[in-house]
Amino acid sequence: MTYVNGGIMKQLRIFAILLLVTVLVTGCGYSGDMIDVVSREDGSGTRGAFSEIFKITQKQDDGTVLDSTYDNAEVTNSTAVVMLTVSEDKNAIGYISMGSLNDSVKAVDINGVAPTAENVKNGTYEVSRPFLIAVRDRENAVVEDFISYILSSDGQQVVEALGYVSSEDGSEARYTGYVKSGRITVAGSSSVTPVMEALKEAYIKRNPGVEIEIQQSDSTTGLTTVAEGISDIGMSSRELKTSETDKGIIPITIAYDGLAIIVNPENPVDNLTKEQVYDIFTGKITGWNEISTDTTE
């Protein structure tokens, strides 16, 4: 038995040594506080807004768009994974919608301005994007009434309760309308959907006869279905393109959403400048030590 196992043992030993060598060689490349950049997938509304605000994507003269996002940035396809990653990795940095913030991560100030709803509203916190709805025509009584509810003070209260910022299109007046029955379809951006769900709930309480169907997809799909008359209201987390407004759809801003730049709660960095965020997300700054010295002066 001993000599039988000898062969196997020898192979096992070689395998173990090989494994150890691989581990050691790869382990050596590790540096303590490399920034782990967490980004979103290409095409995501959040990434689009983030990249545009920080000028990470720029239109070139020849019409192409230069996206200088750091090649080694991790790509995730949901807000939840970004948050989980940042909450567990003390070297990570990511960005999410302000409405999704919680205690598991820390939102840093940008240029010294804290990411709060007030600062978005008064314009000092620049990292924000509009939440839009789009309609083709305003002939449908239910659509008209629902929009008047969204923009009324009651509707805007729902928006603010969720941590988003109310729209300047909103009115001070309370909602007074009532519709007996009807059925409308709302489709589009997954970022806007949570707000729309809450608005729907509140609206249906006041108008029990109305049915509202919400289809979650993305901004582009939502706007296309409105243009084609398949759905009544489209949701978009970005401004409309001219090719879309040309089709006769009218955008209405229902809320603003701030984007929070998040780091691990253990990270000592509390403030970043816009340039630093740009440098981190384009790979010019790769270590946290380059940041902390900058901010503590």
Binding site: N5, T57, V65, T85
Partner: protein, 284 residues
């Protein structure tokens, strides 16, 4: 009598329809994939598409070599992790396991097969990623993490097929070996395992198929950067991840390029199934 014949014929047709349904599904999927994907490959250029190292949909640059390499690396890693554990577990379960323990192990392995892949992904994200990060630094996501996770995921496939292959070996082989003076270990490893070789390989090949096609779990632990991996800790994007990440937003050529990625993946799976069929044929 006649009534029975009518029933007989009726059931025959019913079974034929049922059989045709699955074949039809395969044919339709092939048609859809190739009809939508091939034009895109030729529009981009097969060389540029398959060997291009840059994936930049905003500027219509579609090179999927990083994704092909990513899929291959992760799958190879899964084999390194999963095959030794899987095959040895199968040997243990078929030959050495005490009946009491077997009653626990068998359902446990079956349960492992039934866990949804998104749950594996979540497990990887909260359990494996921090371990790898603490051991090796970096973000903890990458080839190594994905390989370990996939290695665990393909275990049930390898274990159950290898185990039944081992059990299918006639008992006389074992008895003969022991009768000639071999110890139990020697009889198992040098008689039973070689006799069950083709079944074990079939299990491994099916495991590879599962690993290369896995999506949801990999997407959560691989990091998904579309660049060529440089080390075992590099983040990678697999072909499946590429499709899932961008399909929701893609339009025009971008969308077709993603379907074309599916075509490449499909060809990989086809090759794997062909290997499986060859192994099976050799066995018979």
């Amino acid at each position: 009598m006649e009534n029975n014949q009518v029933k007989e014929r009726g059931m025959k047709i019913l079974f034929l329809i049922a059989a045709c349904a699955s074949i039809l599904a395969v044919v339709l999927i092939c048609l859809f994939l190739f009809a939508n994907g091939l034009p895109a490959i030729f529009e981009i250029g097969p060389g540029k598409f398959l060997l291009g190292t840059k994936w930049d949909p905003t500027n219509n640059v579609y090179g999927i070599l990083p994704m092909i390499v990513g899929s291959l690396y992760v799958t190879a890693g899964a084999i390194i992790v999963g095959v030794p554990i899987g095959v040895l577990t199968a040997v243990f379960m078929a030959e050495f396991c005490p009946p009491k323990l077997y009653k626990i192990m068998k359902p446990a392995v079956e349960l492992l097969a039934g866990i949804p892949s998104i749950v594996y992904g979540f497990f990887g994200l909260v359990a494996l990623v921090p371990i790898i990060r603490n051991l090796f630094g970096g973000s903890g996501k990458g080839i190594l993490t994905a390989s370990i996770l996939l290695g665990i995921m393909i275990l049930p496939t390898i274990i159950s097929i290898s185990e039944s292959a081992l059990r299918a070996v006639p008992r006389s082989y074992y008895e003969g070996a022991v009768g000639l003076g071999a110890t139990k270990e020697r009889a198992v490893f040098f008689t039973m395992v070689p006799a069950a070789k083709s079944g074990i390989f079939a299990g491994i090949v099916l495991g590879i198929g599962r690993a290369i096609g896995e999506t949801m779990a990999v997407i959560m632990v691989a990091g998904n950067t579309a660049v060529m991996p440089t080390s075992i800790l590099s983040m990678v994007r697999t072909m499946t991840a590429n499709i899932v990440l961008e399909m929701g937003y893609a339009t025009d050529l971008h969308r077709e390029a993603l379907i074309a990625t599916g075509v490449v993946l499909f060809i990989f799976i086809l090759i794997i199934n062909l290997c499986f069929a060859l192994i099976k044929k050799k066995e018979a």
